[in-house]
């Protein structure tokens, strides 16, 4: 089953069919879709189903034939029924008309015979009355009979009813007729209704002649036409048909609903009656017209003319009933057509199966062969072109088997090659990804010319050059020019050794930056030709880290020294301070009691002087050891510096030194130990003045950089070489002669600033003076 097929069926199933009839049509639809969508073996190539095509063709042909046949059949039946109805109605109407006509003519004939046989013309009144009584007894349809003589108009009358009830109508009628009726002419009057009995009556009149044919009067009869009413009742026209009689004026004379007759209804509104009233009797053509009938419904209508009297019988049949057989015929035609269509479907499916089954087997076999099954054959019993095609196919398969014996090996080799190619493609892809996305710069260069032939993205970043610019450059140009010779030799040696070499080196970027790198160079073979592959690993970070590590180590060492010195100094100062105080006290006391010429005066003053120096030294040691324990306060740096300078300005003048101030105005107050910071300034200024034996200039700047206050103390002294700078903050390091310095001044500055969370740096060069920069945190 192709994938598309169940999807379509499921989609159909969602259409919500509940009734069995709908289910039936759904089933048909399902089969139909299966036929249409039969793409079992070629779902993606848009092939239709031959079975479906044949089925459609058969069905279409059957449907067309059935439709045409049924259409003609229904139309023919309709026309035949129309003719049949016209004939039938005409016969019924004519039969009824004849019945009425014959009754009336028979009555006229009876009257004529009675005249001729009874000798009415020559008889007397009594004889005439007796004759009329006989006639009345002979025929029950005569209500009254009368003879009126000519020219004297004597009247003889008999009645079926009492003389009293019959009244004078007959006499009046007889007189009127005798006056206007031409001699020798028969007469049929208009229909009228008896008021007492509600019966339809008509006057008949025949001339009374003697044996010589002379006109002697009229024999008038009042004829009861109730038979005509009964006749209209008894006429059977289908189940719901009806008949009625009208005269030339359209008056209704007889109808089953006698109340309408009694009203003497005029029916000229009925088209058939109008046709009779206005039409030419001789040219009337019988037709089953569909008109609005006497009851106001659509009927098939026809009429027959009586001629004598001038009446017509109209017959009507409801349209539905008239064409009921046509309708039933139509229904059964539809049923037959549906049944035929169903049989046509079955036959079509069967035939299409017969035709397409071997073709489908052929198709399946070819697809089996396509999938590699060369043993697929088909068996078709048909002895026709398809059977011939099947035989040819089997022969073709046999030949194909012979020519494709090594196909499996070939397929295996192809598969192997495909696998290798796939591996190659994968390897190449992996290499390409590795090469292009490596974090280290990779360069390939020609081994003979040293020209770069390929580089990766990391190389472009490292050398700050696009790949196009790198390719074609000599690898030596990647290094600082002064090192070209070295690297030339380096690469040559590497090439000669034909091995891999790792070494640290420096490269120069497009912007001139020198970057330390670790080079891993090797000679590799590319498509048989040796090339140099260099991998450049940026080691700037490591170098910087190494440098930082060294600094940290120095600082650590310095800190350790300072701590040790501080601890030592504290202990020493504590132990020395007291005895030194005693020595100094006694020395000064003795000196005060001696005259300068006393031989002990000089030694004692020396003891006093040295003791004072020792005291100062001890004081410094104590300051050094207590630097981190002093309380801080918020202070204005500029003001603090000014107070400090005021203390040393006198000394500076003595040493021909100028102190210049360059303060920033917007310094924020900082938390400091004011005395300690002042001591730092004093120490730096003293050192500066010591460095300017011939005088000079000390410049003190202050400024705020972000969250730091900078104090810069610069002099124009001798400056310091690098090797001295490295030790100036170490305790007891001094370049001064013995007795001139303790070596604690700058180390004390360092300790104080460090305890304040700041840093102190020095920049100095021989003969260019020194610059000390102090950075204190604002908070």
């Amino acid at each position: 089953m192709p994938d598309s097929e169940p999807r379509i069926l499921r989609r159909d199933a969602t259409s919500g069919i509940s009734s069995s009839l709908s289910s039936f049509f759904c089933r048909l639809q399902s089969i139909w879709r299966r036929l249409i969508m039969d793409k079992t073996h070629a779902p993606d190539r848009g092939y239709g189903s031959l079975s479906a095509t044949l089925l459609i063709a058969f069905l279409s042909l059957s449907a067309i034939v059935l439709f045409v046949f049924n259409t003609f059949d229904v139309f023919y039946n309709f026309r035949m029924q129309q003719k049949s109805i016209a004939i039938e109605q005409q016969l019924i109407a004519q039969n009824a008309a004849n019945t009425v006509k014959y009754v009336i003519q028979e009555k006229l004939s009876i009257l004529e015979k009675a005249i001729s046989l009874g000798g009415v013309a020559a008889a007397g009144a009594d004889h005439q009355k007796e004759l009329l009584n006989k006639l009345l007894g002979t025929d029950l349809s005569f209500r009254q009979l009368a003879i009126i003589g000519f020219p004297h108009q004597e009247l003889v009358k008999v009645s079926r009813w009492s003389q009293a009830a019959s009244g004078t109508l007959m006499k009046q009628a007889a007189l009127a007729l005798s006056a206007r009726l031409p001699p020798g002419q028969k007469y049929v009057g208009s229909v009228y209704v008896d008021q007492a009995t509600s019966e339809p009556l008509v006057l008949l009149a025949v001339p009374v002649n003697n044996v010589f044919g002379d006109y002697k009067g009229l024999l008038i009869a009042e004829l009861n036409l109730i038979f005509m009413w009964d006749l209209m009742d008894t006429i059977q026209i289908g189940s719901h048909g009806l008949a009625y009689v009208v005269d030339r004026q359209g008056r209704l004379l007889a109808f089953r609903d006698s109340s309408r007759v009694l009203k003497q209804e005029n029916l000229l509104r009925v088209k058939e009656v109008q046709e009779f009233a206005e039409g030419d009797i001789l040219t009337h053509k019988s037709s089953a017209d569909i008109v609005k009938g006497i009851l106001g419904t659509l009927v098939v209508c026809n009429h027959a003319h009586l001629l004598m009297p001038d009446w017509a019988v109209i017959v009507e049949l409801p349209v539905g009933e008239a064409y009921n057989s046509v309708f039933h015929g139509f229904v059964f035609s539809i049923a037959a057509m549906l049944l035929s269509l169903f049989l046509a479907i079955v036959a079509s499916i069967y035939l299409s199966r017969r035709i397409t089954s071997p073709i489908i087997r052929l198709r399946d076999a070819t697809q089996e062969i396509r999938r590699g099954n060369l043993f697929a054959t088909i068996t078709v019993d048909a002895k026709n072109e398809i059977g011939e095609l099947a035989d040819s196919f089997n022969q073709m398969v046999s030949a194909l088997k012979q020519t494709t014996v090594s196909r499996d090996a070939l397929l295996s080799e192809i598969a192997e090659r495909n696998k290798i190619e796939e591996n190659l493609r994968r390897s190449e892809e992996e290499f390409r990804l590795t090469f292009e996305h490596a974090k280290d710069a990779v360069l390939w260069a020609d081994i003979d010319t040293g020209l770069i032939s390929k580089c990766n993205k990391a190389a472009e970043i490292l050398f700050e050059k696009p790949g196009e610019e790198l390719i074609g450059q000599n690898i030596l140009s990647l290094h600082p020019p002064e090192q070209s010779d070295y690297y030339s030799r380096f690469f040559q040696k590497h090439i000669d050794q034909k091995g891999a070499v790792d070494d640290e080196a420096e490269i120069i970027t497009k912007t001139g930056r020198i970057i330390p790198v670790q080079i891993s160079a090797s000679v590799v073979s590319l498509r048989g030709k040796p090339i140099i592959q260099g991998i450049f690993h940026n080691i700037s970070y490591y170098k910087q880290a190494e440098k930082d590590k060294t600094i940290l180590q120095v600082q650590l060492l310095q800190a350790e020294k300072m701590a040790a010195v501080g601890q030592l100094a504290g202990g020493v100062a504590h132990e020395i301070n007291n005895p030194m105080g005693v020595i100094l006290g006694f020395a000064q006391s003795i000196v005060k009691g001696l005259s300068p010429v006393d031989p002990l005066y000089l030694p004692l003053t020396s003891i006093e002087r040295e003791a004072l120096r020792c005291k100062q030294f001890v004081a410094d040691l104590l300051t050094f050891s207590r630097a981190g324990t002093t309380a801080k306060e918020e202070a204005d740096i500029n003001k603090t510096i000014d107070e400090t300078l005021s203390m040393i300005e006198a000394q500076a003048k003595l040493k021909s030194t100028v102190i210049a101030r360059a303060y920033a105005d917007d310094l924020v107050p900082v938390m400091i130990n004011k005395n300690q910071i002042q001591q730092v300034i004093v120490n730096l200024c003293n050192n500066a003045m010591d460095a300017m034996p011939d005088g000079g200039k000390i410049t003190i700047n202050t400024k705020q950089e972000a969250q730091q206050i900078e104090i810069i103390v610069a002099d124009t002294g001798l400056g310091m070489p690098e090797e001295i700078q490295q030790h100036i903050f170490e305790p007891f390091f001094t370049t001064k002669s013995v007795g001139q310095g303790t070596g604690l001044g700058l180390s004390l500055c360092y300790e104080i600033i460090h305890k304040h969370g700041g840093v102190i740096e020095v920049q100095s060069a021989a003969d260019f003076g020194s610059v000390f920069t102090i950075r204190l945190p604002v908070r």
């Binding site: 479906a52 509600s198 109730i226």
Partner: protein
């Protein structure tokens, strides 16, 4: 492999489809066919004397296409002038919702009209006098869902009078016996009186409740020196057509050698000269025509009343016996001559 010829899609279920489709088609076609309607008609024959009316009705109905058992069912009930039974039978008809009630004569028709009040059951009557009974509104449009064949009582009374005079021209005094209080008598007398007066004839009216009273009246005349009448003429009423009463009247006529006529009666050696009545069978047929119109859908109240034709029966034997002369014309007009 799935395709149209896969085993799953063979036609195992096709017979079901076929039957379904055929059932659908034929049920559709069958919708056009109608079940024939069967009418239920109740007949009340209220007087044995007129029993043939029912036969004529059924016969004509058959002729007109209403065949008993096929498309019409009759519930034919017979009783002899029993008003209580009339009511009971008619109420049952109404309860059973019959399609039509055919009833005769006048008294039964009056009860029928009352019984169907409030229902839609039409009534067809026969041999009923419409004069002085209030059965219908008019001859042309009777109304009240009722129609039928009227009994032409006044005209028949006049014709009886005329025939009697033709047979016995010397008669000057005519005894008119009738049941006292019978409703249709007055209209007949009203018709007769002016005609008799114009002809110089004296009508001797003799109302009686029963034969005993009638016998008493006649005995009194017999006892008198002059019986005071020259003939006895029957009206359309029940007393004359009751055998016992007729015998009393006929015996009186025979004893005094006077004609007795109007209704044809023969009992205990006595017989009347002629009878002018209606043909019950024919009347039944006339009523059938009316009934068919109703069954075809025409409202009964709009169907005009028709009149029954008179039926003349001449007892030639009795006429001769009484020494009277019969004209050839009268003989010719007789529908039936008894010799």
């Amino acid at each position: 492999m799935h395709n149209m010829f896969s085993h799953k899609y063979r036609f195992g279920r096709q017979p079901v489809f076929t039957l379904s489709m055929l059932a659908f088609v034929f049920s559709w076609a069958g919708c056009a066919l109608k079940t024939p309607e069967i009418f239920h008609v109740g007949i009340l024959s209220g007087l044995n004397f007129t029993a043939k009316v029912g036969d004529g009705f059924k016969t004509k109905m058959t002729v007109l296409g209403y065949v008993e058992g096929r498309n019409i069912i009759y519930d034919h009930q017979t009783t002899d002038f029993d008003i209580t039974m009339y009511k009971m039978i008619l109420n049952r008809f109404v309860h059973e919702q019959v399609d039509l009630i055919f009833v005769f004569p006048t008294e039964a028709t009056q009860e029928a009209k009352a019984a169907v009040q409030g229902s839609r059951i039409p009534v067809v009557f026969a041999i009923a006098n419409i004069e002085d009974t209030g059965l219908v509104e008019s001859v042309r449009a009777p109304g009240n869902n009722i129609t039928g064949v009227r009994y032409p009582g006044p005209d028949i009374a006049l014709q009886r009078f005329e025939i009697l005079r033709e047979l016995a021209p010397r008669v000057k005094r005519i005894l008119i016996p009738y049941q006292r209080g019978y409703p249709i008598v007055s209209s007949q007398l009203d018709a007769l009186r002016p005609v008799a007066a114009a002809a110089g004839i004296t009508l001797v009216e003799a109302p009686a409740a029963d034969k005993e009273e009638l016998a008493g009246l006649l005995a009194a005349r017999t006892a008198a020196k002059n019986i005071g009448v020259d003939a006895i003429l029957a009206l359309a009423e029940p007393l004359f057509v009751t055998s016992d009463a007729f015998v009393v009247m006929a015996a009186f006529a025979d004893r005094h050698h006077i004609p007795i006529a109007g209704a044809l009666m023969m009992a205990e050696g006595h017989e009347s000269l002629f009878g002018l009545h209606v043909n019950d069978f024919n009347v039944g047929q006339q009523a059938a025509s009316q009934a068919v119109k109703i069954l075809k859908g025409i409202p009964a109240g709009s169907i005009p009343i028709v009149s029954a034709d008179p039926y003349f029966q001449l007892n030639y034997r009795a006429v001769i016996k009484l020494g009277l002369h019969v004209s050839e014309g009268l003989l010719s007009r007789a529908n039936e001559v008894i010799r």
